[in-house]
């Protein structure tokens, strides 16, 4: 028993790593494969979390809900609605270059946050939505956590295999062609805006899935949980640091960044009260700096995307330096 109890914290961290992996893989589909800068990951995460919460939570007077649907229906609904929200955004923005998408997705995330905070009858405003069902929630704490970890990890494995399969398929090659040379891809007869829209919507659905799993983990969702600092910007660092375009790299990125992030919280909690608060804001500096450093020194990430021709094109560079 004591041994299992000691595992409490690692299990907790591992569940979070799995949940954020969905966001990171979703972002990798958008950024790594299609080159789309979605700066509002938190928005799609929130849509997923709230949708699943509304579909599965028990009835509360004055708030939409009480459907009491099973977990699986909530998750499916979350993915569907996130995709539906992404659809019009993508339609409007993907005709232009990436910067417009960045600005608009920041706006979407903000708008969704304001909506979550003010629409009492749908989202329960600041109190949020409570008492969500949780798979294996009836077991004792440690076993319940372990079972949830196994469930989330299993879903993650399925998603990972599917995305890998898709990436190796002609669709994946086409997306990378569009990302690397839009004009050439267009000349080959590819419908660039439509394909980008596909990638954007698909990525958003995965983010919604992550949101739903997050909500069921804590059995509740509140507006504080959809903080863009973590759910958007930290996810970005995970993806770029790990290696955009490479799902295994992205998963490694999630693990590394989340462990650094929780460890830094552990450190700041040890500080005396008056410094602890400032150190908390200092961690945001760390996010920004990490983003800059990765862009500067490791733009392809720790595990760069595998490209068959890369070896040949690298050789002249090395001889140049020498």
């Amino acid at each position: 028993m004591g041994f299992l109890e000691a595992l409490n914290y690692p299990i907790y961290v591992a569940i979070f790593i799995c949940v954020y992996s969905f966001l990171a893989i979703g972002l990798n589909v958008q950024w790594g494969y299609a080159g789309l800068f979605n700066a509002g990951v938190a928005g799609f995460f929130a849509v997923g979390a709230y949708t699943s919460a509304i579909l599965t939570s028990p009835d509360v007077p004055g708030r939409l809900g009480g459907f009491g649907l099973p977990f699986i229906a909530g998750v499916a609904g979350a993915m569907l609605l996130s995709a539906l929200v992404a659809l019009p955004i993508g339609k409007i923005c993907l005709r232009f270059r990436g910067d417009y998408l960045a600005i608009v997705t920041i706006g979407v995330a903000e708008a969704i946050r304001i909506f979550a905070r003010s629409e009492e009858w749908i989202t329960g405003s600041s109190r949020g939505i409570q008492n969500l069902p949780r798979p294996f929630g009836d077991l004792p704490y440690v076993y319940s956590q372990l079972a949830y970890l196994a469930l989330v990890a299993a879903i993650l494995l399925v998603v990972y295999l599917l995305v890998e399969r898709q990436s190796a398929s002609p669709w994946g090659r086409m997306m990378r062609a569009i990302r690397d040379n839009e004009v050439a891809a267009m000349a080959m007869g590819k419908d660039v805006p439509f394909r980008r829209l596909q990638a954007f919507v698909f990525g958003a659905a995965l983010m919604g899935l992550g949101g739903a799993l997050y909500a069921h983990l804590g059995r509740s969702i509140t507006p504080e949980a959809i903080d863009p600092m973590i759910a958007s910007f930290l996810i970005w660092i995970m993806v770029i640091l790990g290696g955009s375009g490479n799902n295994r790299g992205v998963l490694a990125g999630v693990t590394i960044v989340w462990i650094i992030w929780t460890a830094s919280e552990f450190v700041t909690d040890q500080l005396p009260m008056e410094y602890a608060l400032q150190a908390k804001y200092g961690r945001i500096f760390l996010i920004g700096l990490m983003l800059q450093l990765v862009l500067r020194f490791r733009p392809n990430g720790i595990f760069p995307e595998f490209r068959p021709t890369q070896k040949d094109s690298r050789k002249p560079d090395k001889s140049d330096k020498a």
């Binding site: 080159g35 800068f37 700066a39 409007i92 923005c93 005709r95 232009f96 270059r97 990436g98 910067d99 417009y100 960045a102 600005i103 608009v104 920041i106 706006g107 979407v108 903000e110 708008a111 304001i114 905070r117 003010s118 600092m229 910007f233 970005w236 770029i240 400032q278 804001y281 200092g282 961690r283 945001i284 500096f285 996010i287 920004g288 700096l289 990490m290 983003l291 800059q292 862009l295 500067r296 733009p299």
Partner: protein, 288 residues
């Protein structure tokens, strides 16, 4: 009628001029450097806090503190460019946009660590508005409008009459052609960052003096400022002016029709509408 003007139109124009200051900077970065400057809001916050520090620590009157904050923020803008953006010039521009997001987080964090997350203001107490035949306008609001006129006219004269201004416009039209004509791209970029940094300080300062100073103030105006720049047409100073003013007015007037919480969303709605219907904006700007 007079109440309508005093309670909605005047605040709308004042808010709009703050957005216009920010939108002009955004439109300059967007058209000359060709990336979105997501750190614009947080750089404005930084400018506002530098002015606050100058006025409290050195005991300067607030408007003199602004004159000190402008060059300091301009230097900060050039510094971030040299540190973080210069090495990304030859790469896809979207990476620079991403890097500006990193800068935004770093600047905000510095403000929060040094000055905390509370709200403060340049002057204690409530200033009473002056009464101009029923029109109630505060002195600070008048100065804001006056400063906007000076900045816009000055910038227009600079861009249209001087050598360096013309170089900036040439680079915004066609970077390679400008380079072929002997325009030093690197120096034009530094000059642009100087101007943009100064504009950040001005917009942050006037936002602070007309509302309150807090660490999220700049990030909160980034969407309306971008909406203003795109509504006016990217690369158009006069467009950013008109666009910013219109966004400010719409935001203030929107509370007549939609709940107050959604005031911030109305700018975003206009942004989407412009991108959908007329992405070149009112003054036929560029699509980057």
């Amino acid at each position: 009628m007079l109440d309508f003007i005093n309670f909605y139109v005047v605040p709308g124009i004042v808010t709009g001029s703050i957005y216009a200051f920010a939108a002009i900077g955004i439109t300059l970065v967007f058209s000359i450097m060709r990336h979105a400057h997501l750190a614009h809001g947080d750089m404005a916050t930084m400018g506002a806090y530098i002015a606050l520090a100058a006025s409290t620590m050195l005991g300067l009157p607030v408007y003199f503190a602004l004159l000190l904050a402008i060059p300091l923020t301009a230097a900060l803008a050039v510094g971030t460019d040299k540190l973080f953006y210069e090495h990304l010039r030859k790469k896809p521009k979207i990476l620079t946009t991403m890097s500006t997001l990193g800068t935004a987080l770093m600047l905000r964090s510095i403000v929060q660590v040094v000055w905390g997350v509370g709200t403060t203001s340049y002057a204690k107490g409530i200033t009473r508005p002056n009464d101009w035949f029923g029109l109630k306008i505060k002195t600070n609001e008048l100065i804001t409008l006056l400063a906007l006129a000076v900045v816009v006219l000055g910038l227009a004269a600079f861009l249209n009459r001087t050598r360096w201004g013309k170089a900036m416009r040439a680079m915004s039209d066609n970077r390679d052609l400008a380079l072929l004509c002997g325009i030093d791209n690197a120096r034009v970029i530094t000059l642009t960052w100087l101007i943009v940094g100064g504009l950040c300080a001005i917009s942050g300062f006037f936002l602070g003096i007309n509302t309150e100073i807090k660490s999220m103030m700049g990030w909160n105006i980034i969407l309306p400022a971008f909406a203003g720049a795109i509504l006016g047409g990217i690369g158009r100073i006069e467009g950013a002016l008109v666009g910013g003013l219109m966004i400010g007015l719409v935001e203030e007037l929107s509370v007549l029709f939609i709940p107050t919480e959604y005031k911030a969303v109305s700018a975003f709605a206009i942004l989407l509408l412009v991108l959908l219907v007329r992405p070149r904006g009112l003054f036929n700007g560029k699509i980057i």
